[in-house]
Structures are given as C-alpha cells and as structure tokens.
C-alpha cells in the first residue's frame, strides 16, 4: 500500500487534514498546468482550488487505477479548458503580456538576465506556444507525466502528442537558445 493510498483512506475516513498533505504535494504543479492553459496565475489558483474541492467531493469514486496526480490533473485540465472556453481567451492575450519583439527574438542574450528575469522569460516562452504544444510540454516536462499518462489525460493520440512535443520543443529551443548555450558552456 502506497503512502498516497493511506492518505486517501484517511481522507475518506473523515480526516480532512490528511487532504491538506495531498494539496501541499500537488498544488504547485497543478497551478502550473492551469496557468499554462488560462495564461493567468490568479485564475490558475482559483481553478486549482475548485479542482481540489471537486477531487475531495469525488474522492470516493477514485478507484486507484491511475495515480492520484493524473486523476487530479485531469480535473484541473477540464476546469481550465472550460474556463478558457467561457472567457474566450486566445493568443491575443499573450501579446498583451509580452512585447512582440521580445517574444519572437530568439537572439536575446539570456545570460545577462537575473534569475527572476530568466524565470519570466521562460514562462513567456511557454506562453508563446500553441495551446496543444503548451499543454503537452507542461505535462511532459513540468508535471513529468509519461506519454501514456498524457494520452490518458488529454485524449490526444500518442503520435499526436509526439508531434506536439516535437514542435513545442523546437520553438522553445529557438526562444531559449542563448540560455541553453550559456548553461552548456558553464558545464563544459
């Protein structure tokens, strides 16, 4: 019996504080996923709060066939996509946050940026991807899910996921090129 199964059993037995352990464990990654769909950190927090509440209410129906994290991310993904659909957010939103020249210029020397600026630049680079690519990149690299889990979560086919990952990676490479080069140089 895994640690997570024990926690879930405790929650089902009425121990609400055990659920706080699960919230603490997955909140950041769930917010990251939501933020990469709705492109707003504030909205992402609301979405993830809602997702945790839904997960709590439906915890008795969780059979344990998949990991709790995969099940939770599915809830987050559904809520975030619905919210995005309702608000009719589109790529114009990205441009509001990111100056076009900065977003598209792959020759910016990121080594001159401090840590906070680098983080901001990485997030903006992620935001500049198409939705499908962004979701797959987030799930694969940030949430560290396998292709099979992403397939289960998104309903994309395996080949589609590979294509989206390839395209997303290519675009991220272009945007983060200088930063990657710096890191490689540092290591050599």
């Amino acid at each position: 019996m895994t640690d997570e199964t024990i926690i879930i059993k405790q929650v089902l037995a009425g121990n609400i504080n055990a659920f706080a352990t699960l919230v603490d464990r997955y909140k950041d990654l769930a917010i990251t996923l939501a933020a990469n769909i709705v492109l707003s950190s504030e909205d992402a927090e609301d979405i993830v709060q809602e997702a945790f509440i839904k997960a709590y209410s439906a915890l008795a129906t969780f059979k344990g066939n998949s990991k709790f994290s995969t099940w939770l991310y599915r809830i987050v993904l559904n809520i975030a996509l619905n919210k995005r659909k309702n608000r009719k957010l589109d790529t114009v939103f990205i441009e509001d946050h990111l100056p076009a020249t900065e977003a598209m210029n792959s020759y910016i020397d990121l080594s001159n940026y401090n840590s906070q600026q680098q983080k901001k630049y990485i997030r903006e680079a992620l935001k500049s991807l198409h939705e499908g690519e962004r979701i797959c990149i987030t799930l694969y690299y940030l949430n560290e899910l396998s292709l099979e889990e992403i397939k289960e979560l998104t309903d994309y086919s395996a080949s589609n996921i590979k294509v989206l990952l390839y395209r997303g990676r290519k675009q991220l490479y272009q945007q983060l090129e200088s930063l990657l080069k710096t890191e490689l140089k540092d290591l050599m």
Partner: protein
Amino acid sequence: MQEDKYLHELLIEGGIEIASPAFTKNVIKRIERIKYIHEPLVSKKWVRVYRITFVSVVGLLLLAGLLIRLSALSFTIDLPVPDLYQKHIGTFTLYIICFWALIYLSQKLEGKRGMVRGK
C-alpha cells in the same frame, strides 16, 4: 538528448508556478464549509429508522386517542358516530391537523423538505 535534458532543467527551474502561502489553508476552509452545508443532520439509515418509529408511535397514539374519545363520547352522549362528528367538529379537526403534522414532520425528518443544512 543533452539539450533536451537542459531544456527540462530550465523549465523545472523557471516554469513552475508557486502557490500563494495561504493556498492550502483556503482549500481546506472551503472544503470544511461545503462539507458542513451538504452534511445531513443524521445518516440516511438512521433517518429511516427514526421516521418509521416516529410515524408508528405517534400514529398509533393518535389512533388510540381518537378511538378512546369516540367510544367515550358515544357512551356518554349515546349518539351515533355521524352526529358525534357534527357535534365535536373541533376535536376531529384537531386530530386531522395532528395527522397532517405527523406526515409533514416525517417528510422533513427524511430531508425532503429542506432538513438538510444550507438547502
């Protein structure tokens, strides 16, 4: 492959959103509130037991009371039952109201009429 590894590290380093410090507390607060709103006063099983017991006991008492009252009246006044009903309409109306209240309360106890908190 190496680039992929560093891309992964870069994304982990800079792409993860951090939840606000009060996030977990807020989620637990919201869950507690919802739990309180949707939690029935008693479990369904016990509601059924209470309902059956309550309806049976109070119903039998009312019925017994009505029969005793009727027989007592018919002995004392020596009138047939229809005439008794006309003469003591208030008493019978009271019994009918009691029966109605009994049914209403039993439904309420089951949660059909908003006994569940917050509804």
